[in-house]
């Protein structure tokens, strides 16, 4: 469950202000909007990585945030995948045992002992996803997890996210891919200029948006 009220975050020349968020457990929300709309900022606020200037956020359950920069540590692929579990006190060997099936699933089983820095961008994205999922969080806050992946791997990531959702987890996914937002989301939020312009059932938001700005954005007419 995620709840936020009167949320404000200010930077020089930008302000994110969201009046209210009420997200029951087990929802899959996709967040769309042009670059600079405040999507990543909102996600970082929900993750508690940044303090709001005003308002508050309440997240029930353990949340994990997956950043779009896909930081990898100067360790092997296996050690990187196991890192999240080790942070939670799981022994190195047990953590390695638990992440191996995940790594196999995302096609990295043959690279367990390679330095993670040697991976391609797409491989790093899959590794970062495994690292987050292996900790079995209640809430997943994902910033562009399928960015710059080839179509087969986009489909793989989407399958994994659907599966995680089917196990009752709450997901908030920021994406620039409108098709993906529509395919995956039960609910979609449209952000523009730091404001939550429209939020509603994904199918309705894409087929029958209530606001002109939303319609222009999803129709590809908005120049920004």
């Amino acid at each position: 469950m995620i709840r936020a009220a009167g949320l404000v975050r200010r930077y020089p020349g930008f302000e994110l202000a969201v009046d209210k968020i009420e997200l029951p457990p087990g929802r899959f929300v996709t967040v769309i909007g042009p670059s600079g709309a405040g999507k990543s900022t909102l996600l970082r606020l929900l993750a508690g990585l940044e303090p709001p200037d005003d308002g508050g956020v309440e997240v029930r359950g353990r949340a994990v945030f997956l950043d779009q920069d896909r930081t990898v540590l100067e360790r092997s692929v296996l050690a990187n995948a196991a890192f999240g579990l080790q942070l939670r006190g799981v022994h190195r060997k047990e953590a390695a045992r638990r992440v191996k099936p995940w790594l196999e699933r995302v096609g990295l089983a043959g690279k367990l002992n390679q330095p993670a820095q040697s991976l391609s961008g797409g491989e790093r994205a899959r590794l970062a996803l495994v690292r987050a999922l292996a900790t079995e969080p209640d809430v997943l806050l994902l910033d562009e997890p399928a960015q710059a992946l080839d179509p087969a791997n986009v489909a793989l990531v989407e399958d994994i996210l659907r599966e995680v959702h089917s196990r009752g987890r709450t997901l908030v996914l920021v994406t620039h891919n409108l098709y993906q937002a529509r395919r995956l989301g039960e609910e979609t939020w449209f952000l523009l200029g730091g404001r939550l312009v429209e939020a509603g059932a994904s199918e309705q938001l894409f087929t029958d948006p209530q606001r002109e700005q939303t319609r222009a954005y999803v129709a590809g007419e908005m120049v920004y």
Partner: protein, 215 residues
């Protein structure tokens, strides 16, 4: 060149002990300081960074002079009786090595801090785990910092002469011995001492680099 001159090994041993202890002392203070300053913006952090970077160019003779005044019999710390002892040399060399170790560590940690913090905190880690991860992820540049600190300590001569006094069998180290032998005109011995100094620096650096490459 070193055959028939066993004292050279005594001098080498003392150089290693003094520079090693100074590097250890500087690392104990400099590593946490560098990590703490580099991990996130701190009040006064920029001023501290300027002081540390400027400190990398501290003139050893000035450090030696200040410590001499502190430790001389009429100085505020004269009662400690440290002047012309290896301990005074350790302290002087630690003062010279500290800005290098802390400054290079700060720069290395600063470059990784934002990404590592988002990663660790995003996975539910604590601030302490952020610092531990930063320290481990910066281990290669930190090895360079330790090597630079040891290099500054072992090759230093001005402060060692002023606070150590180059006393035979007591405070004579490789650098002060090179100066002495050169002044005496025994260039063969001066060259031998210089070669040993270079060898020691190379060996210690090699040890640090291999240690830093461990997974």
């Amino acid at each position: 060149m070193t055959a028939g001159w066993p004292e050279i090994w005594e001098i080498t041993g003392r150089s290693l002990r003094v520079a090693g202890a100074a590097t250890l002392l500087a690392a104990l203070a400099g590593l946490p300081l560098g990590v703490w300053l580099g991990a996130r913006p701190r009040p006064g952090g920029l001023a501290a960074q300027v002081i540390l970077y400027a400190g990398m160019g501290l003139p050893p003779v000035v450090v030696g002079l200040v410590l001499y005044l502190l430790f001389s019999r009429s100085g505020p710390l004269g009662w400690l009786g440290l002047l012309f002892t290896p301990t005074a040399m350790v302290l002087a060399e630690a003062v010279l090595a500290l800005p290098m170790i802390a400054g290079f560590t700060l720069a290395a940690v600063q470059a990784r801090a934002a990404g590592v913090r988002r990663l660790v905190r995003g996975l539910g880690g604590t601030e302490r785990q952020v610092l531990a991860t930063l320290l481990w992820e910066s281990r290669r540049p930190i090895v360079a910092a330790l090597a630079a600190g040891f290099g500054a300590a072992v090759s230093e001569v001005g402060a060692a002469t002023i606070v150590g006094g180059d006393i035979r069998h007591h405070t004579r180290v490789l650098t002060t011995a090179v100066v002495l032998e050169t002044r005496k005109g025994d260039l063969e011995r001066a060259l031998a001492l210089g070669a040993v100094l270079l060898g020691v620096t190379l060996l210690v650096t090699a040890f640090l680099v291999v240690w830093g490459e461990r997974r």
